[in-house]
Amino acid sequence: MQIECVNEVNISFPSKSSNESFARAAISAFVSQLDPTIDEITDIKTAVSEAVTNCIAHAYKSGIGTIYINSKIFSNGKIVIKIKDKGTGMENVQQAMEPLFTTGGSERAGLGFAVMKSFMDKIKVSSKPDRGTTVTMEKSIIRRLAKSDR
């Protein structure tokens, strides 16, 4: 059977920290049509929260910029979430993704990427200094697509 995109959403919003909870809630509402378990929803909400927080706390740390989220649901139950900023970018993505690495000071744990990696099936990060960063994450929800959407 061919795998196709069955639903898609695009959201953009200013990098205000009060939007962290909005982004989590929006994506969790969008993926709820796959009827995920509470654990699956918690994983996705946490990963989205980490990626969006990084845009706010790092990419746009000295001002307000726009955060873009694109999410797709595929017919095989796969969810793809892309979170993009046009902020500072990173010189060394590999180093940034190491557990405990942070440039954010004593209140940041340096575990955001570690959580995205372990709570989602797949993560890809592309970044260019002064241009911005895109984090793409995937997770498969065990097939429970509503009949009408199949």
Binding site: T53, A57, S106, E107, R108, A109, V115, S118
Partner: protein, 101 residues
């Protein structure tokens, strides 16, 4: 999000409620740190029973309070972590600090 600190003899219990993220953590942190710095405590307890969500900002919040307490010679504990948040706690490695009941 809410934070209520109550003093019981020389133990302060900080009851955190709602979602802990980068946005809410700063207010929670300020409330707790102010309280800890202006009261003479033997022990600081963070009660997470009413926390409905946390990301790694919650880990940073716990670690930061742990360090502050230690620097002041105050005993530190975190209690009632909801089941949903076990995974992020385990992943963070902060279990080894011996601050959980």
């Amino acid at each position: 999000m809410g934070i209520k600190v109550e003093m019981n003899r020389d133990t302060a219990v900080a009851l955190v409620s709602g979602e802990i993220d980068h946005h809410s953590a700063s207010e929670i942190r300020e409330k707790i740190d102010n309280f800890v710095r202006t009261n003479n405590l033997k022990e600081l307890i963070l009660d997470f029973s009413k926390v409905s969500f946390m990301d790694t900002s919650g880990i940073g919040l716990i670690l930061g309070r742990f360090k502050l307490a230690r620097s002041l010679g105050v005993n530190f504990k975190v209690i009632n972590i909801p089941e949903k948040m076990r995974r992020i706690i385990n992943l963070s490695g902060i279990k080894n600090l011996g601050i959980f009941e």
